[in-house]
Symmetry: C2
Subunit: 488 residues, 2 copies
């Protein structure tokens, strides 16, 4: 996109001729060659971006073209060539509307179309036959009423969430086929011949789509969902890992990672539609047929919840103060520790999901977070007996740390959800993990057996069972400390 | 939904016979009469809910049925009745795929279909004629290549955001029609005759849809967007108005309002699609043709931002402590004032949008919020010189108040966006507002001329010009106070 700056309307252009400058200017604003050039270049850059962002789009375009060319040529070149006729038309129509970007969507549309056509065709033939019982004068009225009420009922059913989610397109095709067949005015034997021909072309068109979408550079909705969840976790992790440096004005480098999390806030619709399409897909790559896609949605919910807190936290970054306050510096160490460790925990979780193994290394970081919270509590106690005038300076700092603690709680929930997914999807277990009798992995960390966080209350940081010889302040009253964490 | 409890699978059923209980149980789980009854009743309740939630859905179903019956009967009953034929089929097909829930969607699809058919038909005829130049042997190859590359290009264009947003369906129909026409194998004169017939049936079907959707119980996307934004504001307002009572355990009544804001978090997709559809709609009700729908999206962004903060704030409600801490009680008055006044401000803003008048009364509440912030600052200063051990108790309280201040800032942004909308959409001005030279309304409030909040920095509560004789602490150093508000 850097090239655009040199192509902006402010770039040097030939000076206007001395005569009739107004006319010249007007013409220039309408269609000066440089403006047209800019527009074309802009369009080209835009188009290039669409392709570069996801090269599978280019492949998809050629796949659709291939399917349509294939289907139309089969009918075009058939030996009894006599124009393409009705049958070929239905095959082309099927390919155009059924071929979607992902395998799941193509399968869903193809199967919906096939079954709906079959069912509606049968019902339509029945309606026709039923109408014929009443003689030619009353028949149109009877068929009219039948079509009216069945179409109304079918249209209404499209509002029922369960049907809307998976069978919306099928109901649409049902309405179409039923209306067409029942008002076609043909006799039943003609209809059956027509229906046979039409159904076979639809199946041919649909199968062409499904085969091409599944075997030529396939785009699997399930795989995309898996990647999306991993990417979202990584985006949040980048923010949190960089937050400390940013909050204490330590770094001055690239800040693009600070905005990346914003796309997570609105990922719900995409996740749900992908999970819905993944339901139709057969096993592919590392994913089995009945991969627990629903559990991905649960991870998505917690990830978004974490993103909401990050949104609140990011508000404390663009304060006008370039120099951290005294109080802010007093809690610098635990604050930076908390954000970097929770970031690392998320990164590890994302990484284990990416590799489809049990999420173990993140426990270390979550435990480190908890140690940092303990440390923060001590620092707060020591720092807050301050002068009356400086108290208000500490308020945004306290708020930010409190939000950080909420984020740690969210990450624990994400960790639990990913652990649940690992179980349901039979992820591989790493060698260096020993399982206890409950099947829960214990991670051996510098001699400390740290219990993974257990279900428990939503707003509560669970009890930490620590038995280690490193820097944890053993002299602290653990029970009281826990109460304080809970408060925080 | 209350009835469902009495219909749950746990309700009493006849005791199993003593012999072969396993078989009986198996049969029972497959299809016992009571289970089937439950399933049917459940389904009925579900269906009823869909209709009760939005009765316009029932109207829509009958509208679609009416359109299809009308179109099919016109072809069915035509004097030269000879089966419905190709032409009628296209009319029915058009109605089925074009008739959408909102007027905007129907207009968008109808116009996309009409223009795309026209353009693709012309290009298809051209391709056919071009192919014929090469003689019958080479023609299929030439046409095949033309179809392949044009379909690939058109499919790729569907990924370009601007096209995807408004013309996605048009491109789909373009691909369909172009492929159909260019491989139809008819001579050009036959094609033109066919095209004329097909286009006229499409226009007839499309017009039927548009007329029925616009004049029979119309559902306008624009109106829905307006209502959605108002409802979202009201949901946030309810939460904030009730937050104080809830936080201080004052109330024990209905708590459903506490969860209502959650739907706002994920309203982005709905808002954008409605705004997109509203773009196609003509003027309706109080909305002119070029109503500034884009500004609604801006209000939506700020509303969601506010909802994210509320999500963070709501975390401080389900703490385990039933009794507010000493520190919490010390700041009770300004805290409850802040939340109730910011709630009232939002309610007034929503109300003025609903009535489509300039948002004026909310200024009072926003000013009250600012007074409460001042008050809070004083209370905090007085309360925070406390015992060392109680300091940690104050942390969640400070965090909650800090988030409340952020919410007030968000509401100011919402207020500005609504004011901008009022200007762009020429909302009515209330009589008791006097405008200054900038056209900004001043609200006269007990002798104080309070300036409405001006653009300014995002994270900054703007300067408050106060000249009043009521309870504002005049003795305070206003400059310092402002700095503290900014910090907060």
């Amino acid at each position: 996109m850097e090239n655009t700056s040199s192509l902006s309307p402010n770039s040097p252009s030939p000076p206007p001729p001395p005569s009739s400058p107004t006319l010249y200017t007007n013409l220039k604003t309408i269609a000066s060659p440089s403006k047209i050039k800019h527009a074309i270049v802009d369009l080209a850059i835009n188009i290039k971006k669409v392709g570069v962002d996801d090269p599978r789009r280019i492949a998809h375009s050629f796949k659709v073209a291939l399917a349509i060319t294939l289907v139309s040529m089969v009918y075009y070149l058939q030996p009894f060539y006599n124009g393409i006729g009705d049958a070929g038309m239905w095959a082309i129509l099927t390919v155009v509307v059924v071929f979607e970007y992902t395998v799941g969507a193509t399968l869903s549309k193809g199967m919906n179309r096939g079954f709906a056509t079959l069912l509606a065709g049968a019902l339509g033939v029945g309606a026709e036959a039923f109408g014929s019982l009443f003689g030619p004068t009353v028949k149109p009225v009877v068929i009219g009423f039948l079509v009216f009420f069945l179409v109304a009922a079918a249209t209404f059913s499209r509002f029922i969430p369960r049907i809307k989610k998976k069978y919306d397109y099928g109901v649409l095709i049902f309405i179409l086929t039923f209306s067409l067949v029942s008002v076609s005015g043909y006799r039943v034997d003609t209809i059956i011949k027509l229906a046979h021909q039409r159904l076979s072309t639809i199946i041919f068109g649909g199968l062409t789509c499904i085969v091409i979408s599944m075997f030529v550079f396939p785009v699997w909705a399930g795989e995309d969902l898996h990647k999306l969840i991993v990417t979202n976790l990584e985006k949040l992790a980048s923010f949190l890992e960089g937050f400390g440096d940013e909050y204490y004005r330590v770094s001055n480098g690239d800040k693009s990672f600070l905005g990346a999390y914003k796309s997570v806030l609105n990922s719900k619709a995409t996740e749900e539609s992908l999970a819905n399409l993944a339901w139709w897909e057969i096993g592919h790559g590392k994913f089995r047929f009945c991969h627990p896609w629903k559990q991905y949605l649960k991870i998505g919910v917690y990830t978004r919840q974490c993103a909401y807190h990050i949104e609140a936290l990011s508000g404390y970054l663009d304060e006008q103060y370039q120099v951290p306050s005294e109080f802010q510096i007093a809690v610098q160490e635990p604050c930076m520790k908390m954000s970097s460790e929770v970031g690392k925990a998320l990164k590890e979780l994302g990484n284990s999901m990416k590799r489809m193994v049990y999420p173990s290394p993140s426990y270390v970081h979550i435990e480190n977070c908890k140690k940092a919270i303990d440390d923060l509590n001590i620092k707060l106690k020591m720092s807050m007996v301050v002068e009356r005038d400086d108290i208000l300076e500490s308020i945004p700092v306290i708020a930010a740390t409190s939000i950080l603690v909420d984020i740690i709680k969210c990450v624990e929930k994400i960790s639990e959800a990913i652990e649940e997914l690992s179980k349901q999807a039979h992820f591989k277990k790493l060698k260096d993990i020993t399982s206890d009798e409950n099947g829960k992995p214990h991670f051996r960390h510098r001699g400390a057996a740290i219990k993974p966080v257990d279900g428990g209350n939503d707003r509560e940081l669970s009890t930490i069972t620590v038995n280690s010889d490193d820097e944890i302040p053993q002299e602290m009253d653990l029970d009281k400390n826990k109460r304080e964490i809970n408060r925080l």
